[in-house]
Subunit: 182 residues, 2 copies
DNA sequence: TCCAAGGTGAATCGGAAATTCCGCTTCCAG
DNA sequence: CTGGAAGCGGAATTTCCGATTCACCTTGGA
């Protein structure tokens, strides 16, 4: 593969990941091309269609996050801190893609296992956080993870958003949130 | 106006309001017609175009809610309770429409004043709730209102959603939420 | 220097939703 | 009871908009 082709492929992936992170999956090929400083035709030289591009980017994001999650889960200490660290790591990744690929993502040879693995790992952390008394236990671990992703990984979320702060606080038990706000 | 025409107009408005409340503003004319048990042609006999229909319904919802807000605001007692009651009254109204009409809603002869009036009234209540110590004061009254509308008036929200519960809890001061959960 | 790999973006395709239109049906005033 | 204006239905048409193609131009690098 020619050097410029390799470089352009990277430009496309970066530009697309950035846009997807900031604005969710409803970004047009045209716009991605423009953000990468290339023509649309070039996207199609590298990816047969839109779905292929989305899948590659989603897979990258999931791999990154799954690695981070394994890391944090292995380290001893507060499960809540570990969970929060994971989720924050996801804030600058285009995770909204994963949901939008829903139909067939399960079936996809790489995406399916990644999604399942990540879900399992995060739910474990959430359950641990509840057991250690850091997180309210009147909702399921799955809901805890869902709410965290709304709080932190929603497209356009920033760490000091009112919504982010309020959800994080609302997730804590009253006992746990008595201290400094996280 | 013929009796059946009046009846059908009402069917349209009701069906549309219901769909908009449940699913937000991205509902097709076709689907509204079907929900009303009528043909699309009939929608267009009553409303020149989609926007006209949305505007009428949004105006109705805003009038209803503004009335409710005046009512609750006038009654003495906890501003937080009043605010929560208002917002809950909005839960079964198609408020998402208002935002989607954003461009030009300010200019619209009826919508503009309604939106401004409602905003002012709710922000007042929010500020009152903060002053009485019920709501955390590290966010602005406008943000309080915004978060409440996400919690309660988001399309498809139900009062026992995890997101609803967590946001409502997260909005309270730690002192205020020490009692029974609202 | 040459030319295949690579790039370009206007033109085309496709599908979903809005809007039109005209023949048929239903009210209701006389 | 009727005539005909008011209403209705829904297939056909138009509009919109993003995905995808493709004929032609550039350029890396052997």
């Amino acid at each position: 593969m020619r050097a410029d082709a390799r470089r352009n492929r990277a430009l496309i992936v970066d530009a697309a990941a950035g846009l997807f992170t900031a604005r969710g999956p409803e970004v047009s090929m045209e716009e991605i091309a423009q953000a990468a400083g290339l023509g649309v035709g070039t996207l199609y030289r590298h990816f047969p269609d839109r779905r292929a591009l989305l899948e590659e980017i989603a897979a990258g994001a999931l791999r990154t996050l799954l690695d981070a999650a394994r890391d944090h889960a292995a380290r001893p200490g507060s499960r809540w801190d570990a969970l929060l660290a994971c989720v924050r790591r996801g804030a600058d990744l285009p995770l909204a893609l994963t949901k939008s690929l829903s139909d067939g993502a399960e079936a996809h040879p790489e995406l399916g296992p990644l999604v399942r693995g990540l879900d399992a790992m995060l739910e474990d952390l959430a359950e641990g956080a509840q057991r250690e008394g850091a997180v309210r236990d009147d909702i399921t671990p799955r809901q805890v993870v869902g709410l965290l992703s709304v709080a932190v990984c929603r497209p356009g979320a920033r760490p000091d958003d009112a919504l982010t702060i309020v959800i994080l606080d609302g997730l804590r038990t009253r006992a746990a949130s008595r201290g400094v706000r996280t």
